[in-house]
Amino acid sequence: MAFNFNWSPLTADAGFYERARDLLTTALNKSPKPPIIVDDIFVTEFNLGSVPPDLEILEIGDLAEDRFRGIFKMCYSGDAFLTLATRVQANPLNTYISAKPSFTSPEPLTASSSLTIPLQITLSEIKLSAFIILVFSKQKGLTIVFRNDPLESLKVSSTFDSIQFVRDYLQKTIEMKLRDLIMDELPAIIHRLSLQLWCPDQVPKEDEEAKEESDAAINPLATPPLDAVDAHGHRLDPVEISSLSLDGGPETQSLFSQKNLEKMDALANAHRTSSLIAPNILEVVFRAWAGQSDKADATATPSASTPNLHRTSSFQGSAHTYTFSDNSSQASGHAPSRPTLVSMGSATTGLSLGSGRHSKAGRKKKTRVVNLRSKTAASEPVSEVGSTSSQAGDSGSEAASTRAPMSEPVIPTTIREAPEDDLAASQSKVRFRPPTDATTSPRASESSGSRAAVPSVPVTAQPSRVTSPQEHVYTRQPSMFPSSPAPQTSAQERPPSYSSRASEKAEATAPIYADGKAQQQQFQQQQQQQWGRAGPQPDMSSVILEQAWITKIAGEIARRVYDEKNRNPGFWEDSHQHDIPPPAYEPR
């Protein structure tokens, strides 16, 4: 079998360069230009040169009369060049003013007067090295996808070569722009060209439909070859293939719908401005809609800025209750935000997600919580549990901050066993409470449980009291804080069957919740609801009493846990090691 690639006949076509120039010009002017470019960008010269690129066939996945699919490796260091001409605005103040709202414009008189300078840029000595996935079919034309960033280097020479600063800037900007061009525009151009060649019947409607069509057809990774190999001939396993993303970046566009991500972004930004419109996201249950008992979430979640007081958090699995408590030796002198500890928790592989969100917990508190991950990879919940547990172990005093991420409904679809096994295995080492539901029957747990396990809930409540006066209502909840000496007045607001209701609700809204998650969820909801419900009710005497009590308890717990930890150092490290990185998710 032989392939014959012709380089020079391509360029021998007289009309080729002209057409290519036109296509490039339209492609360059399609996207909105930065205000510094005041004129259209024209491609004045374009030459592919005489040196052909080196092409190496890595794999041919499909071969037939009318279709072809293969992966190539292309290296190019030839003498092609490209010259662009445009005009740029040389006054930085002019571009500054033009891009800003006029209401807050400083309204300079003529300091922003324009000075446009013609600019000519020549790109030469282009070095490319790319893995190309090429899909051809007679019906759908030719589709090219670059698997990596193909641009290795290029030389930019312009009218301003004598000015070092401008030259560097241009070099940087053009490299970036060219990467975009090659990755995004070039496949589209080639596709359009191929459509014109092979299936002219599709050309008329190509503008709208063929675009989408090509987008759909563009994903060869959706149907990977049976035995894929990488550049060195080693076999790739399917997981690796699925982790390849088309644009080569770490973005997981296949995991999240781009549209939903944009809407999420808009939603997250909505509270920064006074936007009245909350974007509608499909297939998602907003916490705000979920019902009366959940409404407090929107206003709840005080910030996690309480230094020096010890908290414990409890996370309940379906059958077990694990208590992680802070100790004074560890938490002594913690800064409120404690970035170091958080990053310590995230030092293991995939925790950057959790910690990133933790550190933003204070800011995000008003954001409505939307679940995006109904279809996320299975590894997500594991790492979430791992991260929270490890973090709780490390810096359990971050109750509020761990609550914030927890309050985002992480819905595990498949894997829940790993952390449970892990923790269950360690249960023998650490004395844990028997499987009770602390939120519903705390008295029982207190009477029967060990001292270390008991105060998990009340102590979680404690730091909030220190931060703000509204919190003592929290401690009055009989269910949450049974040993509170305070009169339990506001507790009656709450129906005793709340937890079951809430869990029903949680399951109703998100039936795929795993049990443990649902309970944690509900626990968080409960907490947050209390926090949110807590109005300003100054009752100083009870506050002082409780505070004293809590300080005492906290000290006790801290001591106990410290002892525990000294006795069983393995457990505390163990929880780190089974973290599996969540899929990268960067809100843009």
């Binding site: 500054y96 807050t104 003529t110 300091a111 007067s113 000075l115 401005t273």
Partner: protein, 472 residues
Amino acid sequence: MREFMNYITNAFYGATGWNEDNKYNELNATSRELIDFPLPRGLRLTLSSLATPHFATSYQLGSVGVVDGSISYLHSSIPLTHIAAQSDKIPLPALLRCYRRLHDLRSPGQHYMLDADPLSGLPPSPQSAQALLGAVSDAAVANGTLAGGKTDQDPSKYTHSLLYGRLYLPKSLLEGMIIKRFTQALQVQVRAVSEQSLRNGGTILGLVQYDKGNYGLEGLYSTDGGLLGFRGLYNFGGDASSSTCDPWTPAPGENSINGNGQAGEKERIYGRFSVGGELYYGTLNKSGGMSLGARFVTLPAHRGTPLTATLTINPLMGNINATYALLAREYCSLATRVEFNVYSYESEWAVGMELWSNRRPAGFLLGASPSNDPEPEPQPPRKKERSFQAKMEWRLDDPEPEPEPAPKSESDKKKNDEYKGVLKARLDNNLRIGLLWEGRAKSLIFSLGTGIDLHKLGEPFRSLGLEVQYSS
């Protein structure tokens, strides 16, 4: 057309005695407004109200393809009782004026007080302006209350503030502004815009303005790019240098000095020079900009044709900008502008014009141009000449002609009020024409504009718009 809220804000400036023109960035305001007047796009309806003397609201509904709108509220701590807010009573020049008359430097706090409508910027002929001025100083002397001395001693008069907020609805863009006057000479403005698409969600601009009569300084800071700016304007010549002693206290003899001086040189051009500069530096993006400018404006006391000439230079960008505007007739003002860049050799020119009509809008349409009726035209100058003489006399001997200028200015104002509409036009070197016709029909103030591109004669109308404003 000025927006209603701008009109109210100007009324606030008037009520607190702030001279908003004594800033560097208003240096070429006259020609800018004559040439770069905004053209309406699409259909826009504004419903405004000065509900109480302290509180104004305005609702706007527009349609350029999509429907949008805005809601704005304004609160002023000083009652704005001296202005007419009803759209059938608002003096049109206050809303539509282009040629800006100079404010009196000596009394930036007072000139408005006497004027029933402080913003009647309608270019009166020099004589009528002088009559007005005469009325002012007249009343000042007569009452004895107007002197700066009194206002100086009453600081509470100046510590007023204005709050303004506006929400653009589909865009969710929020504008807010606070103007706070601290002392007679110091005023602080804070403006903010909040919008989702902006970096950091919005920007804030802070302005500190210091106006000392013959010089005005301004410092600004914008959170966007950390832009720092400084602007200054210095006035000399004309009235600015004649009142050398203290610009804030109108010396009792000053009027007569002025009058005498002017009497001596009334044939010569008599005006005020201003020079200024601006300097900007963006602390975050490490870029800056500057410009220098000079202006000559004839004072209202000047007998000949009022004119304004400015020259600004941007030495960094090599830009030279010269404008010349004059009030050819009472109803007609013209402006030209030439720009040249010494680095890129690019040049631009533009001419602008405004033409006032005292006919009804329909009559104006039918082609009865105001120049067709020469009858009223020679009359006002003669009258004014007499009034001017009278004023001259009055300045020399006090009480006698006092009754005379007052009715004159009265009639003058009535005459100004007779204006029913104005036609503005501009043309620039790209052969783009802008036409704007504004006026009052019943109690609606309308503004109809179009942009024409002579280069594309196939479809010359680039934009077309109608703006209707009603206020109560």
